[in-house]
Amino acid sequence: MKAALVNLLRLPAGADSLQDSDWNAIIPQARKTLLLGTLLAELEAAGLREHVPGEVWRHLYSGWAVHRKQRHALGYELRKLGAALAEAGERLVLLKGAAYFRADLPPATGRLISDIDILVRPGKLGEVESALARHGWSPGDIDAYNERYYRQWMHEIPPLGHSRRHSTLDVHHTILPPTSDAHIDAGALWEAAVEVAPGVWTLAPVDMVLHSAAHLFHEGEFGHGLRDLVDLDKLLRHFVAHDGEAFYAALAERAVAMGLQRPLFYALRYTRRVLGTPVPESFATSLMPESPSPVGRRTMDFLFYRAFTPDHASCRLPLTDAALFGLYVRSHYLRMPLGLLIPHLVRKAWMGIFPPADSSTGEDGDAQKAGG
């Protein structure tokens, strides 16, 4: 049984038979999964605006308005970022949402981003950090333990905030942490990058899809699971429309080279089942040797279906909290050697019970939250 939002994304024409009670499920689902703007764009493109009551439409519009502002602000932010990186002699290579925006790819339509992700060569990390600091970006308040976690075990410098503009920047030196199974060649990703606008680069199409798949299945936080699956669905449809079935062959080859067959297998399994992405049967079976046993697959289905269902009472599947926690443990296992895993989890749980005292509920903090 699919969430009402998922049904509507698959078949926008269904909007003309929805009741107020249906919208009472769909709007909160879309808000939680940051898909309000995306849904507005789908319904508008399908010519269905008149079928949506005005009181419902204004919620979709609210998401769209924030998207529009983010897209506009990103342009300005990238100019500043480009200038800082140029000082460090490094290209501006965008990942995820910011990449979709700047390259004008289908996932960008209506999408809400949370921060800007860039890829930097490992050898340049120090220079880049210094240049960014000179231009106003800093890690802010972060305790030494979390800082070490970010630097050593994750693939990120701690997120940087701009002191004046309040944008958030995640600087990556590879697309998965070095401790995981895969053998990502960050240099190869870099070499294959494409220039989508003067001085602005993104990963090559196959790498963008693989990154999206890898990010989805290795990350611990699934709050945006459905949105990320929607991204993947749109990327696949777009690149296949452009490059034909040859795209799948290139994708498979790159996945094997980087050891990312498992994430890719799951990616295609779930985009097809949840969103109906037309992945050819032959491609899925060619990756079969890498898939887990039927029992393993059923376990994964249990875990992942819950991650892709919006976390709202109207559609929450039973045992969701346990499933999400299971995924959090799993993603950390993929990142860290087991010996270090337990102390880290214990500390994170402690911090969950006694959150930092300065959690902001003032107007500025709420405005940031509202931005989505």
Binding site: K69, H72, A73, G75, Y76, R79
Partner: protein, 91 residues
């Protein structure tokens, strides 16, 4: 001496009262500026090739207010303030 241009497109809310609202479209920043600053930005906005050198700016701004000559150092100080606010930059 430097040649200047606008950092990006701007819009003004000016009702002839003195202070003027200046909205920088790219950054979304909104400023309250004095009439002189407003005339300076307006001059840059309508300049040929969108740039003006300091002597040119000095002449244009002084012409607008006879009897109140603007000194070069005052102009440079104003330009420096506007640059800090990301409204102008050296071309």
């Amino acid at each position: 001496m430097s040649v200047w241009r606008l950092a990006g497109p701007v819009r003004f809310y000016d009702r002839g009262e003195g202070p003027v609202v200046c909205y920088a479209i790219d950054s979304g920043d909104t400023h309250l500026i004095n009439p002189l600053a407003s005339r300076l930005l307006g001059a840059l906005a309508s300049a040929a090739e969108a740039t003006m050198a300091e002597p040119q700016l000095l002449a244009t701004l002084s012409a607008g207010s006879p009897g109140e000559a603007l000194s070069l150092s005052e102009l440079q100080s104003l330009l420096s303030d506007l640059a800090a606010a990301d409204l102008v930059l050296v071309a």
